[in-house]
Amino acid sequence: MFTIFVVEDDPIMKEIIIDTLKKWRFNGIGVADFDHIIQAFINCKPHLVLLDINLPAFDGYYWCQQLRAISKVPIIFISSRDTRMDKIMAMNMGGDDFIQKPIDMDVLMAKINALLRRTYSYPDHEPQVLGYGGTVLNLKDSRLIYHDHQIDLTKNEFRILYMLMKHAGEVLSRDKIMRALWEDESFVDDNTLTVNVVRLRKKLTEIGLESLIKTKKGQGYLLE
């Protein structure tokens, strides 16, 4: 279990980050007293530090220098400033990576994981498969395995099935699925989504899973 030290003064942001860390099975510890960050750091002995640049009293650069004087712990800067000077400063002050507000939590977690992997050289323990009702979806090569059948999925088909599996049992509206696809830079419209779902169902039918994806009229799709 890795401990992550979160130096962020905005309470809402802090809470969201620490909650997300918990979901990813990290132990997130926030800072309450911004005058004694170093003491809190020593007590917490974290494996990684998330450090906001805009803090009360001293800014993140200052604290980064203070931390670097006593520790080699990996540091990721969080910043709402988007000038290039900030990025340069952050790296030169001894930061290892940099993420901008508004923070995309998935990106942040990926950065944390990558940094921890590099620093503590541990193998990645993230699950690389999703399972549902006897099917296994391999996240690395986007294949669906069912009994002894395998099908290759296109990027969009994989994305749709992945969404449905993650929210198994819930109805997902077409708009929600589309937004997830857009997030992945696949800018589909209504018709394209329909076509994708039809093709995905066809592939599923081939290996005997014709009724895996259910349609809820006027609401969306779900896995039951």
Partner: protein, 345 residues
Amino acid sequence: MTEYIRDRVFLFIFYIAAMVFITIFLYLEPSVRLRIGNLIYLHAVVLFLFLLYLLFDFLRCSRFLSGLVQAANALSGYRLTAMPAPKTAGQKKICRLLDKIERDNRQKVQDLQHSIEENKDFVMAWVHQVKTPIAAGKMLINHNEGQSQEQILDRLEDEFSKIDYFVEQALYYSRTDSFSNDYFISEYAFHDLVNPVLKKYAKLFIAKKISVALSDLDLQILTDKKWLEFIIDQLISNALKYTDVRGRVRISGRKYSSGNRLIIEDNGRGISPENIRRVFEKGFTGAIGRKARHSTGIGLYLAKTLALKLGHNISISSEEGKGTTVILDFPNNIDYTGVAREHSM
């Protein structure tokens, strides 16, 4: 008086030297043989004339000078009108110079006042504009009977993204002046700049069922990512605003011998011919803007201004009722060392 004498010191020296010379000349010249009495007489007359000249000259000068002193003591707005009329060529030249300086200053003051006025107008319009989604958000929170949590969140998200859009505009509006020291030119493909904007507006595109067609966006250009992304953001959000449900937006890159182009087309309502000239003006609001009553009309103006600063250009064409095409031009061989200097204000 002493000032006057000090100013005329060379005249006195000249007078004395001339008189001494004449006296000695007349006294020593054997053919003339002047009597001492006559010599004194001559001196007296010349001195009298000289003093007479000095008196008149002094009066004339002192009138001008005291006029200047009065003008200096006058109220600041009326100094130039209180100045005495110039008499000599030198005075005329000085007056003309003062006149010029005064006119330049007045122009500067006017320009400043104008820009302050403009800023004030913008801030007022902006505040009104941004209040609308805030009010709508408050309404949603207070009057939410009969709506599921998810619906409310969904609509709050819409209002927040409106606020976000306005705040972003204000931020870039205030940043335009510091453009020259806040940019970083690098090479990007069109899709590096277009995709983030499309993601940002995903919800709107999907809700309005507007399809997006992309082509040839892997062309590379030199630009600053932050500024150009803002420009593209303005253009795409406009396309979204003016395109009806089930419309389409097409974004494509083109390569020319002289440079690259990014073309953003929609099949929305278009712009009328009498308005198309004015869309890049500061504060121009189209029919929609006037309908909403709170529109700053700053988006396209900012896009154009910033594009020019980056050495790009924007042009627009439209057929009313058929759609609008915006073309972003990226000419080759822009000397980027000159871009900031040329446009730094």
